[in-house]
Symmetry: C2
Amino acid sequence: MRVINFNPGPAGLPLPALERARDELIDFQGSGMSVMEHSHRGKEYEAVHDETISLLTELLGIPDTHQVLFLTGGASQQFAQVPMNFLHPGTSADYLMTGVWSEKAYDEARIVGQARIAATTVGPDKRYVRVPGQGELQLDPRAAYVHLTSNNTLYGTQWHTWPEVGSVPLIADMSSDFMWKPTDVSRFAFLYAGAQKNLGPSGVLIAVARKDFIAQGRRDIPKIFRYSLHAENNSLYNTPPTLAIYLCRNVLAWMKEQGGLAGMEARNRQKGELLYRSLDANAGFYRAPVERESRSFMNVVFHLPTPELDATFVAEAKKAGMVGLKGHRISGGIRASLYNAVSVDDVRALVSFLEEFARKKG
Amino acid sequence: MRVINFNPGPAGLPLPALERARDELIDFQGSGMSVMEHSHRGKEYEAVHDETISLLTELLGIPDTHQVLFLTGGASQQFAQVPMNFLHPGTSADYLMTGVWSEKAYDEARIVGQARIAATTVGPDKRYVRVPGQGELQLDPRAAYVHLTSNNTLYGTQWHTWPEVGSVPLIADMSSDFMWKPTDVSRFAFLYAGAQKNLGPSGVLIAVARKDFIAQGRRDIPKIFRYSLHAENNSLYNTPPTLAIYLCRNVLAWMKEQGGLAGMEARNRQKGELLYRSLDANAGFYRAPVERESRSFMNVVFHLPTPELDATFVAEAKKAGMVGLKGHRISGGIRASLYNAVSVDDVRALVSFLEEFARKKG
Ligand SMILES: Cc1ncc(COP(=O)(O)O)c(C=O)c1O
Ligand SMILES: Cc1ncc(COP(=O)(O)O)c(C=O)c1O
Ligand SMILES: [Mg+2]
Ligand SMILES: [Mg+2]
Ligand SMILES: [Mg+2]
Ligand SMILES: [Mg+2]
């Protein structure tokens, strides 16, 4: 019996994508071997590689100006690799701070070169409960780039309107909300996301890069860190994580069947609305600290009246077949991650559980 | 029907390891989810992580002075990360050149800092048919480290005695022969290997690091590239490639059942001897260019009288159920990769085939 999985990442994946992987794990398409045993230079794997890129291109509507890259090391490696590529000597980058992931990105950038905080919503308690408004941004018009975290996995905030940054290249860590809805990727010079929330297993990172932007990246860094090199080699410069890419292919094919990103958005909005509505209706018992306009549809963060009740909630939810609800140790409380693979019915089950819990303990 | 897989990497894996993965792909140990859907901070995945480290430690006899790390980006990323960590300002590193992989490692090191060639066996035709002898090494006693490629996947050469490097730290890229036999890891300050030959799918790199050596690594590089950071966090600083590590666990468990590294060595020696003996016995038809003492037990490289016959050989072998035999485009000819998962019977089948082929076409 499969449980209902609210893990923050690695996260639940759609069952049909997993079943497809299971059914051909030993013998991929009659080739007599597993997809992971195929050479990354052979036609069988290359078809998977190219299909994954095609599905991403189709579902996201990626224009010709941009290119998909498969990279590794997670978003954490991109925190360093982005400034290594784009912080040319004498330049500085602007960071929009909305949580611990932006902080980590900023810290790596400052090791590589010059970076400044162009906006932050950090509170006196070091927490973040919203993303900044346009009026709060103090942008450097000569910045090498502006970096933001589109969804703050830990605090449960999300950008719902992209900031205006003029002609400065915009870069986004979209790890926890990539492909949750249709997105105009042409606004971004570079965006990146670890697969392990909305798209696949951990071990592969997907980037969408504007070709002319990465072509101007620094050439005095090791080859393997140059985005331009991976672009020129269709992400086959060295051995890519073939099995992880194959699993993303299966998930993308499922997304396409579910109506693509419009379908994902409809599901995801319904899920988020169901859960927030219930939390608001029980606001005497559950407290959702994030400001309304910054609420994340991917990670719904809330607290019960006491840490003890938080713990009881998590334990009883687990008995009821719902796992992954414990909040991050920094934020405490409860976090329900509602990535693409979580169904509306899964959220309905959580809502019934939490309403019943409030009745019993409230 | 599974084929006989002589791929150079990604390569064939032991069927029991794959079957185990298939059987629990949807529901890992009754947890109601796949191992790839588990949080990397949860107890289910952590048990897999720790078991993989324990199996490596047990099979290799890793001493307390050393530690296992799981990294990403393949050996190609280590070509850059090694000098980033260990090439302190004002120091230089020595590279032992035995093929294209050493060349790539050296090229990245020269982008990061100072590196010199302490030995090379490159021929006038730019090829390599042997590893250097001790007398050929021109070592810098003050070098930051000596780097070698233990097995040259492309040209089919292998180090059978480690060079004496005095008190200089020895670093090895063991991507294509890691764990092919018992190895005294205490000789190495740092060794690394992509999993995709002897150990698992692509997407995870295993390093064995001397703790005091990596602790002295540079601190002015991005955090994510510091080996010391990954060591301090038991390779859980950021999300590791959990599924790839799980699959390595399955392969390591199989290796243990097969008698550990002593068992692997016995199998691997028998396989290499069978194939080289047959090639030598048919030396009028097959030419194995590598010098006898440098022959690799992992990648057996040979040529037929003409490139056309090479192509016919590959095509007919495929019809006979044997794949992955085409040589690398740089070396041409045939390459049979005999990694741990290839059985003695697989090699017997290849030997029968090649003897029959020589009789027919010779
Ligand atoms: C928004 C965001 N950025 C970055 C990361 C770090 O990703 P990784 O662990 O793959 O490096 C995470 C991980 O949860 C995240 O949620
Ligand atoms: C000896 C050796 N080193 C390094 C590499 C590069 O490994 P990766 O493609 O995983 O970066 C290979 C790949 O075949 C190899 O055989
Ligand atoms: Mg997280
Ligand atoms: Mg954040
Ligand atoms: Mg190779
Ligand atoms: Mg080499």
